[in-house]
């Protein structure tokens, strides 16, 4: 009996040593938004192949990413939404928002024959508010004269879970409809006035594909890959823009603030798609916290530099819009401002 106990103890002790022994190299942990997960997955894997540093990213949602960064359990967070003042207060120290790519939210629908429909912002808001209930509403037929719209009911589909996609979409609706802003507001989870909820982008896409006469919103990639019909939307400058990687990049072609905490929805850019947004990596400005070693900061800074420069070439094949030159310039300044014990990590 005694001998078998000793064998067990020895076994576990060896396991323990093995575990700690292998953690000699720097490893980074990140968590957050699901929207850029395919891109980050590819980028981080490639970075590991090229530089030998392992980075683990958990796609638990923008809210989760912000919370984990505040709890200092991760090295960086990922978020589609800008941290609110309340979030920043809880974090306690300045948090940098470094953009990595941009994405677009498209409105998709299920109508026989997949006609290419045009929408204006107020129509979209009123459909989601439940005010426009049928496809042959006069406002819809007015801007789509060449399409024959039947009198079927519009079944609105939204997200049942909290998401950055909803945050971008609702931020757009709040800007273009004062009624929406008052009744519903913007955020990752909303009190939707109408419609059914689907879980995740795939859930919404699935519901729209199945339900005739449905109308929902998904990330551009999902509409592309599921070959769903999506709408052309009138932007602020009055142009009807079809969502694409090009028009998403163009949406960022406006005055960008230094801290890059900019909401790209309802953009001023003439050729820009109006429901676009950046996704950011969040990191503390001063990296000397919770006993972090300097190597980790150096590794993080190098990773962020790579993601905004060499890593950008992986964006387009995966249907993400890469950062414009202006955006990369601002990102460089932000990365240079990351300090460890007050000294910048990258000159």
């Amino acid at each position: 009996m005694k001998r078998s106990w000793m064998v067990f103890l020895l076994f576990f002790a060896l396991l323990g040593f093995y575990g700690t022994g292998a953690a000699k190299e720097v490893e980074l942990i990140g968590a957050g938004a699901t929207f850029p997960y395919p891109l980050y997955s590819k980028m981080l894997d490639t970075y590991y192949q090229e530089h030998g540093i392992k980075i683990n990213y958990q796609a638990i949602g923008s809210g989760g990413g912000i919370r984990q960064l505040t709890n200092k359990t991760v090295d960086f967070g990922g978020s589609d939404a800008i941290m609110s003042d309340k979030d920043l207060k809880e974090a306690g120290a300045p948090v940098l928002h470094i953009p990595t790519c941009a994405g677009a939210v498209v409105v998709t629908y299920n109508l026989g024959g997949d006609p290419q429909l045009k929408f204006t912002p107020d129509i979209i808001a009123d459909i989601f508010l439940g005010k426009i209930k049928k496809w042959n509403d006069p406002r819809l037929t007015a801007i789509n004269p060449e399409v024959k719209l039947a009198g079927t009911d519009i079944t609105v589909v939204h997200r049942s879970d909290g998401s950055g996609t909803t945050a971008i979409f609702s931020s757009y609706l709040s800007k273009v409809s004062s009624e929406w802003k008052e009744k519903v507001g913007a955020g990752p989870s909303l009190n939707w006035p109408a419609g059914l909820g689907g879980k995740g982008n795939p859930g919404v896409a699935g519901l729209v594909k199945q339900t005739p006469g449905s109308f929902g919103y998904v990330e551009l990639i999902y509409a592309f890959q599921n070959k769903m019909a999506y709408a052309t939307i009138k932007n602020k400058k009055g142009n009807f823009i079809k969502p694409s990687i090009a028009s998403t990049s163009l949406a960022a072609d406006t005055a960008l603030p230094e801290d890059m905490k900019v909401d790209l929805t309802d953009t001023d850019a003439a050729g820009g798609y109006p429901i676009s947004g950046f996704t950011w990596i969040l990191a503390y400005k001063e990296q000397d916290y919770a006993g972090r070693p300097e190597e980790k900061t150096k590794a993080l800074v190098n990773l962020l530099w790579w993601m905004t420069h060499e890593g950008q070439k992986y964006a387009e094949p995966l249907h993400y819009a890469p950062l414009s030159k202006a955006a990369v310039g601002k990102a460089e300044k932000l990365i240079r401002s990351i300090t460890y014990k007050g000294t910048s990590m990258m000159k």
């Binding site: 923008s62 049942s160 909290g162 009190n191 419609g195 059914l196 199945q210 339900t211």
Partner: protein, 303 residues
């Protein structure tokens, strides 16, 4: 005498391990109780901000608005109870006959073995798969039914969720019901038969009343399963945060809301409200279980 001494030593060994065995059992029971209390305690502590803010109004509040910080659980409470009880009623149409079939008519043999395996297989299918099956196969069928009935043909809704739940909980009621029916004493049945009762009358007047408390226990287990089911329900219930107006309208359940919104919940009040929802679900399940046990007790002491 060496033989007697070794016998005494053997008794002594059994005596010692008997006491320590009992101690281990008590300890195991105590750990379970402590675990339960700890879960309850941690739920209450984490939900304190919401409890303080909303008080009793949380249970009757109809609005769930994360943007404005107004949280009310009524729509989810109603959705949970509606879908679970409907699922129970639908499942009993299948589980009760199955219990009688397997307990009374074919208690042994190849047919019985096969049917029992099929029913147990139903219990083993992961709930996500039930959700997918419901979403892709059941929803179009329900949508066709709704078109015929003149109801908005959305396909998803409380009715669809109840159907999916009903299939999921059939095995729980059926397997317990089968065992209890099989355990009805043969003497009782033979006495009724000898008095001239038909087989159907024996089942109605002897077997079912005798097994009623056991069948009800199986029903209670099935209900408990239905109340807490998350994944299958969230895929087919429509996720609409309004009070359901009919059985075909979309709705939401407490478990589904928690699963959907927990990861993205920023802000203490939002999180605390979600945890308070979990607390409400915990209490509802406990209350129903206690009521159920009381009914079982009453049914079995009526004999």
């Amino acid at each position: 005498m060496p033989a007697a001494r070794s016998k005494i030593r053997l008794h002594y060994k059994w005596g010692v391990s008997e006491a320590s065995f009992r101690k281990i059992l008590y300890l195991a029971g105590l750990i379970l109780l402590v675990l339960l209390v700890a879960i309850l305690f941690s739920l209450v502590v984490a939900a304190l901000p919401a409890l303080r803010q909303f008080g009793f109004g949380f249970l009757i509040g109809k609005t769930w608005d994360p943007v404005r910080g107004e949280f009310g659980a009524l729509a989810f409470l109603v959705g949970t109870l509606m879908s679970s009880f409907m699922a129970l009623l639908i499942s009993m149409v299948f589980s009760l006959p199955a219990s009688i079939f397997l307990g009374e008519y074919f208690p042994h043999g190849k047919v019985s073995g096969f049917m029992k395996s099929v029913i147990e297989l139903l219990a083993g299918i992961p709930s996500v798969i039930y959700g997918f099956w419901g979403l892709f196969l059941l929803v179009p069928v329900v949508r066709a039914l709704e078109t015929v009935l003149g109801v908005p043909p959305q396909g998803v809704g409380i009715f669809t969720a109840s159907l999916v739940l009903a299939v999921m909980i059939i095995p729980y009621a059926a397997s317990i019901g089968t065992e209890v029916i099989r355990l009805v004493p043969a003497g009782l049945k033979e006495a009724a038969l000898s008095l001239g009762a038909t087989r159907f009358e024996v089942i109605r007047k002897v077997v079912l009343p005798y097994a009623s408390s056991g069948i009800f226990a199986g029903v209670l287990l099935a209900l408990g399963r239905a109340l807490g089911e998350t994944m299958a329900v969230t895929m087919v219930i429509g996720n609409s945060n309004f009070l359901p107006t009919s059985i075909f309208s979309p709705g939401n359940t407490m478990a589904s809301v928690i699963a959907n919104e927990f990861t993205e919940a920023t802000g203490n009040l939002y999180l605390a409200s979600l945890i308070e929802l979990a607390l409400v679900l915990f209490i509802v399940t406990t209350v129903i279980n206690i009521l159920g046990k009381l009914i079982i007790h009453k049914m079995s002491t009526r004999k």
